[in-house]
């Protein structure tokens, strides 16, 4: 299969593929039980049940708690999604489900339920890649519905579970990983730092709120993997030119907090939060925009839960504008993990005539981005 052109997806002769397939998508890779329904690129339902509150006292997602919550939420979430869309399961053309990457036990609940739906309703099943689904959601933007992604689209995905920059040659057949975090995900760094600062969970909104009252230049926290030996040059890129690392930043914050505490001083929580946020957002956006520029990306899509961070949006907007890259940020409800993005990618796969998955597909907790469907 070749890259998508600006024409409708070519059909093989004698084959009739639905132009705008009706697809139900299931997402259970982390702490959101998401079921979405789309018709082609039209969003019909996006129902999400979150177990976030149950993880709050642990300061991070507990896989077993997430998996338990998925099982209990599945049927009610399904019913509500079907109700919202005003359809029945027998009407759909296919069922799509996140096969990976994500938490293994959590993925298995969604996958097993999806197999049950597909089997009972006699529908084709598509096991899809969670990261690529985050990109697929870009097609659902209600303001300017697209039937295809623009050529040379890239995606910056930032959440509690992942941090990647992708190049999307074709949503259904060719996606490349340009760079990713080599340790903590950016959202994880927010959670851990919020924990350190006693700001609560989830860390993203908590840090952002504290940062609003702080000075982002008060502390100069490290920007991971920005030394020349890691970055190299455009002509001779270093090993980590487009990669991130947030573990050093986390350690630097911990050290700063310790210094104040051992000196018996009040910890300047607002300034630390603001400086930490600035460090994350600065390195995320500078590396993402450079990776985009060096790989001919003209349109960049932002996805993942951290997309809700106002400072990230601001700085990314600024830097994309300077680099003449068109930035697209879907509504927050479509940036965080949800079933609609899975359905959106599923619809593209159906329309492109991609073979459905078998009933035996496994959950792949470390599914590489190149494996768009399994």
């Amino acid at each position: 299969m070749t890259a998508l052109s600006t024409l409708p997806t070519p059909r093989k002769s004698g084959q009739s593929l639905p132009q705008a397939p009706l697809v139900l998508g299931i997402e259970t890779s982390c702490d959101e039980t998401g079921i979405g329904i789309v018709r082609g690129t039209e969003l019909l339902a996006n129902t999400v049940s979150s177990s976030m509150e149950e993880h709050a006292r642990f300061g991070g997602v507990i896989p077993e708690i997430a998996a338990r919550a998925h099982l209990e939420a599945f049927v009610p979430t399904l019913r509500q999604a079907l109700d919202t869309a005003g359809i029945q399961l027998k009407d759909v053309d296919a069922i799509a489900v996140t096969a990976g990457p994500g938490l293994a036990g959590a993925l298995m609940v969604g996958l097993s339920a999806a197999k049950g739906l597909a089997l009972a309703a006699g529908k084709p099943l598509y096991g899809v890649n969670h990261l690529v689904a985050h990109v697929g959601v870009g097609l659902l933007e209600s303001s300017s519905p697209m039937t295809e992604l623009p050529e040379n689209t890239g995606a910056l995905l930032v959440s509690g579970g992942h941090t990647e920059i992708l190049r999307v040659v074709s949503l259904t057949s060719q996606v490349q990983l340009l760079g990713s975090t080599i340790d903590d995900a950016a959202g994880e760094a927010f959670d851990k730092t919020a924990r350190l600062l006693g700001l609560g969970y989830p860390g993203g909104p908590a840090i952002a709120a504290a940062a609003a009252h702080g000075d982002p230049t008060a502390f100069r926290f490290p920007r991971g993997l920005t030394m020349p030996k890691f970055e190299g040059s455009a002509q001779a890129p270093g090993k980590h030119r487009h990669n991130w690392s947030f573990s050093g930043l986390k350690t630097a914050v911990a050290r700063a907090v310790e210094q104040f505490e051992s000196a018996g001083l009040e910890v300047p929580v607002h300034d630390i939060a603001a400086s930490f946020q600035e460090a994350v957002v600065d390195v995320l956006t500078s590396k993402a925009v450079r990776a985009a520029r060096e790989h001919g990306i003209h349109t960049l899509l932002l996805g993942g839960g951290v997309a809700a961070n106002q400072r990230l949006r601001e700085l990314l907007t600024e830097r994309c504008a300077a680099a003449e890259i068109e930035l697209r940020i879907p509504p927050v409800s479509l940036c965080t993990d949800n079933g609609a993005m899975v359905a959106a990618l599923g619809a593209q796969l159906v329309a492109a005539g991609v073979e459905p998955s078998g009933m035996e597909i496994p959950a792949d907790s470390s599914q590489p981005v190149q494996r768009i469907s399994v």
Partner: protein, 256 residues
């Protein structure tokens, strides 16, 4: 809740190995099982499809779905439950849970090897190795593997058949629980847990100490007239999620 009277049902258990059975009034139409404990998510849905095909029934023709709710290792257990929830939802048929240990107890009192459609142990060559049906009024344990040097267990009492057309049954006396094998009551035991801890548990026979819960008996119990054993179709975890509040999560008293 009442037990099922007549009709064809689908039974699924994924509390230890995994198994699927389609039964008509307690008679097994088709069945499948594996003792593998780690690949439920891959194999179980296809096994249901194949077992239904072999039994010659489709979802619309079912009177219900019953599913083993454990206790059992969480991830595998949830695979069976998630599948059962989805199937019952689409087919619009009732869904009920059964304690998976009930399956072992049922087998102990009837001595019908899982999968013997006649339900007659005399025709089974392995019958030699069985301890014989548990006598009426006698108490015993059904024990499965809970890992981490513990077992899932429940205490049952055998009850005589109510009449010529009825089978003996096992009445739940206590449990299910999760404990170290050494803490269990001193009673004869059946199930793989007895085989794993021979120093602590008195297995009724070597064969019975290898038994895993099975969908066949769950289906039979569900279709047995008498007091209902059906439960909510939600897992019997018996253990907390193990999550610990990290030391770093503590209220910071310093003003900011």
């Amino acid at each position: 809740m009442k037990n099922y009277h007549g009709g064809v049902i689908l039974a699924i258990d994924s509390s230890a190995g995994a198994s699927v059975a389609v039964l008509d009034q307690g008679r097994v139409l088709a069945q499948w099982r594996t003792s593998e404990t780690t690949d439920h998510a891959e194999v179980l849905a296809a096994a249901v499809a194949e077992t239904m095909r072999q039994a010659g029934v489709d979802g619309g023709g079912l009177g219900g779905v019953v599913v083993g709710v454990g206790p059992g290792p969480f991830t595998g257990l949830r695979v069976g439950l998630a599948l059962a929830h989805a199937l019952a939802e689409v087919w619009q048929v009732p869904l009920h849970g059964l304690c998976s240990l009930d399956s072992l107890a049922h087998r102990a009192v009837t001595q019908s090897p899982a999968g013997d459609p006649a339900g007659d142990s005399a025709s089974d060559p392995a019958g030699d190795h069985l301890g014989g049906p548990v006598e009426a009024g006698v108490e015993f344990l059904a024990v499965s593997d809970a890992r981490r040097r513990e077992v899932y267990w429940a205490r049952y009492r055998s009850r005589a058949a109510a009449g010529p057309d009825h089978a003996a049954s096992a009445e739940l006396v206590d449990g299910p629980h999760v404990s170290a094998a050494s803490e269990l009551p001193d009673l004869p035991a059946v199930g793989i847990g007895a085989g794993l801890y021979p120093e602590a548990l008195k297995a009724r026979s070597a064969m019975e100490a290898s038994w895993l819960p099975d969908a066949v008996e769950l289906g039979q119990i569900a279709q047995t007239p008498g007091p209902a054993r059906l439960r909510e179709p939600l897992p019997l975890y018996l253990r907390e999620s193990d999550a610990k509040v990290p030391a770093q999560v503590r209220p910071r008293t310093a003003a900011s």
